[in-house]
Symmetry: C2
Amino acid sequence: MSLTSTKMPSFFSKRDLHFNLYELLNVEQLTRYPFFQDHDRESFDMVLDAAEQIADKMLRPLLTVMDRKEPQLIEGKIRVYEGMKEVTKRFGEDGWINATFSYEEGGQQLPVTVQNAAAFIFQAANYSASVYPFLTTGAANLIRSFGSKELIERYTPLMYSGRWQGTMALTEPNAGSSLSDISTSAEPTQEAGVYKINGQKIFISCGDHDACENVVHLLLAKIKGGPAGTKGISLFVVPQKRPTSAGLTENGVITAGVYHKMGYKGAPIAHLMFGSNDDCLGYLVGEPHKGLNYMFQMMNEARVGVGMNATAIGTAAYYASLSYAKERPQGRLITAKDPAQPQTLIIHHADVKRMLLFQKAVVEGALSLLLQCGLWSDLIHVSEGETKQRAELLLDLLTPIAKSYPSEMCCQTTSAAVQILGGAGYTTDFPVEQYYREARIHPIHEGTTGIHGMDLLGRKLILHGGKGLNYLTEEMLRSIAEAKQSEGLTNLALQLEAALERVQKVTGSLLAIAQRDKELLLADATLYLEFFGIVTIGWQWLKQATQAQKALSKTHAENERNFYQGKLATANYFFEYEVVKTISLAERLISHNHVTIGMHPDWF
Amino acid sequence: MSLTSTKMPSFFSKRDLHFNLYELLNVEQLTRYPFFQDHDRESFDMVLDAAEQIADKMLRPLLTVMDRKEPQLIEGKIRVYEGMKEVTKRFGEDGWINATFSYEEGGQQLPVTVQNAAAFIFQAANYSASVYPFLTTGAANLIRSFGSKELIERYTPLMYSGRWQGTMALTEPNAGSSLSDISTSAEPTQEAGVYKINGQKIFISCGDHDACENVVHLLLAKIKGGPAGTKGISLFVVPQKRPTSAGLTENGVITAGVYHKMGYKGAPIAHLMFGSNDDCLGYLVGEPHKGLNYMFQMMNEARVGVGMNATAIGTAAYYASLSYAKERPQGRLITAKDPAQPQTLIIHHADVKRMLLFQKAVVEGALSLLLQCGLWSDLIHVSEGETKQRAELLLDLLTPIAKSYPSEMCCQTTSAAVQILGGAGYTTDFPVEQYYREARIHPIHEGTTGIHGMDLLGRKLILHGGKGLNYLTEEMLRSIAEAKQSEGLTNLALQLEAALERVQKVTGSLLAIAQRDKELLLADATLYLEFFGIVTIGWQWLKQATQAQKALSKTHAENERNFYQGKLATANYFFEYEVVKTISLAERLISHNHVTIGMHPDWF
């Protein structure tokens, strides 16, 4: 309003995406596999450029207005921001929804790694808008993986076109984190595979809106008479309007409400009622009672996706605050306090640099882990044997980290962005307060941080006899050995080595009580997740530093040298300020003092 | 909307206020001093009860609606929520604005400690609404402390009545953290003490609104021809309408805008223009060029006040999430996973208890430090000699902590409150998302956290030859010695002892480089502030635990036993989960690796 101009800052770094794809992951290795053989670096670059075009011209300009004009429920229908019609159409027409699928399915056989990099660009430009197409991708993926030929043919083409929205309909008023308690029921009809659905679902992202022609819910329900708990959960396609020979007809799905929320306002989150009129049909996907297993495919993808969303929001906030710090004069350096001299730009203050380094360290560290997860997904899809198994176990082990580390940390990095702008950052004149609000959803949806902590410590670590952890340790030791070859990186390598030993010590100490006291084992699972997450991202930074050091010795271009120097300095930051936190975390994790378990509810 | 009822939860604990005032601080000791001799515990209790009445009946019901109906600038005047007229009137009529002032001034000679406890209740009920009266208190306090008899008589009675709003007008577009750069000018007129004011101020809380009759700005400006920097700053009373023999007349103050912001929406934050019409008069307070010294009186009070605001918001969020956790069934205990059994209330999950303990530990730890600061203020006012000096130096040293620890930490505790509610917490159906947004202003206003870090490490520690730190160390050692007498507290006492040694080691290491490299000394001042803050609050928890342990041995009443058991368990939490963080912080603080200083702006 009254401060300096709000000219649009850059919101991500394509240079960093290239660094990840081509220098760290060597994503071109995938083109050796037949499925990806038509691709090369040029085609990958074109995908990123196309994504940037849409993000910059179409999505970023809607960021603020979509926050201000929330979805409203009007006469039983959720109305979203008018411009979303064009956006969903464009996503469909340009083939973004099914880009990773096969040619036969109309896809482009694009690696997930590259698709995720493109999605990251969309998310950084406008998180809410980016949710619509990729929810559809996930839902369609479930149908094509587990559904009948008929379901696939009837539903997926219209989903790929962007005309039909896909959703995940899991949560119910009494079943959020505890999915085993869903009560939505499915009653067989006379037609095989067709059930009458009855129940309600809450918090359904894109559960109803007027920027599409129909909504296809991938819904969890219990077939009457089935087993209790998660073992009785089945998966259904439940369209808002069902296709019949006479065209689309209403399918007994009522939108009972739209949630108003702190952020993420551009996407409609619905409360839905199914079958109040006794005429809501659901089409069984795959076999009865296997719904949760199927859904986990989508959830695991979605979890990595949530980590990416959080990272993208954190990245946009980082660039917004960086741009402000480079323009805003305020105060003087500690060493030059003469009030007669002009003020310095705030980027020269050590504390501002610390807050920028914090953001850069978290978001670029998280991004490299997330793209690594994409590569593992691709390798699982196309490779075999040891390569495939390694990718499977590493992805499985690190999904809780890939989801939760960025989700938790980007609440803090967006906070640092607000702090850099000071009072201006708290106003709606700048985008950082919106990023701060939007970041906060991620530790909640797709499994809360607490759930992921228990998943890691109570399940993933010990799965397959701990083979995932062994693979990860091998990978880290290899990175450490490589870094030690590089002059100037020995110190960082030793720090990661020490952190890894800390992981082993803490993990050993916890697993030793696993049989004896599972409650105590899991009481601090959230802290263990944080601990493990920091070390994992430390590993990513050591890899980035190693590559940067190598590249630096070969380039004279100033921009490039700045880029690599930035990587080295940020790696140093990460170890000095973040990895050091694992000392205290380890101390707490091996203490086994029953603090929380011993707390009586009446004592609060 | 679709979840469980949003029945109004309690938003603070009067029991905890009593514990602080009567058991920890023995606030009744003040009644030995003549100024407070008419008071006793009964009169203090009445003050708290009266505050609770207003908070519960008048302020809390407006919390949500004031967030939704933001102040608007209409035809040059900021319109605030209609109900604020009645609220400001009531605050004036009931004597809250000048309660701590002398009988001669119409006050009640109430101890600041008790007044702050009452303010805490108002703030927990409705932070925005509570800002209006206490800003006026601070502004009036400046006039009565440093202004002429004429200024006092003309302005303060109408401010005490709530009819005239007081403000602090410091920040300018180019002078936020760097106050030395203000450019608002004051030109002498022919009348002694009267100046023409010209300039603009931004981010002025309650800078203009229609719930009062006039606004009195305590404004910083530079008298033309004065010294550069902070030494040329003078303080003025600049009324929005100036009193003349013919009544109130416009004083050339224009409201250029109202800020729209992430939270704290119930209070109007204005952008003001002074003297564009060349007819804005300012009345000098005290002597020329001493404005910043005077203002610091108000700022120091305001800083403790900000800490209290943050703590109050954190407290309200704690109780909101506690109440939810006691009502919401979800999932089953680790030890009882049978899906056929009913779900457990989430308060029984260790991770939920951890998030509740975190909130309780932070807000109750901060509250006891803040009320301790109030007692020091009172002792400075009424005592003499060693008692007075000790109070002065301790308050001075710990003001950066009292302001920043709660401000930073309550961003995190309100986040934990959101997390406990899960998806529901992200919606506007529950108040926790509002608390999360409102908490975020506090690390920014009244000096950012970075400024306070530098104030502590660069100034307060070494002031008076480090005597403040010596006093604090003595106090902590006394608390440690006392705790060691108590069976069961030895472990906590030893942990505080170790943390205190860590403070000495880190402080020594930093001060050793102070002369050589001031930039390096201050580069991590924010981390030092965090480090020092945790130890300070650890000290408060050791004192609370010692008192709780004593009281526990003397009471059989179940409620009381629960209260004290809760204190002991929370103290244990604070040491196990928070004080332990000082190990890593110390590691970083003694590393002296020039991470941030060495970072070149082009490397970002």
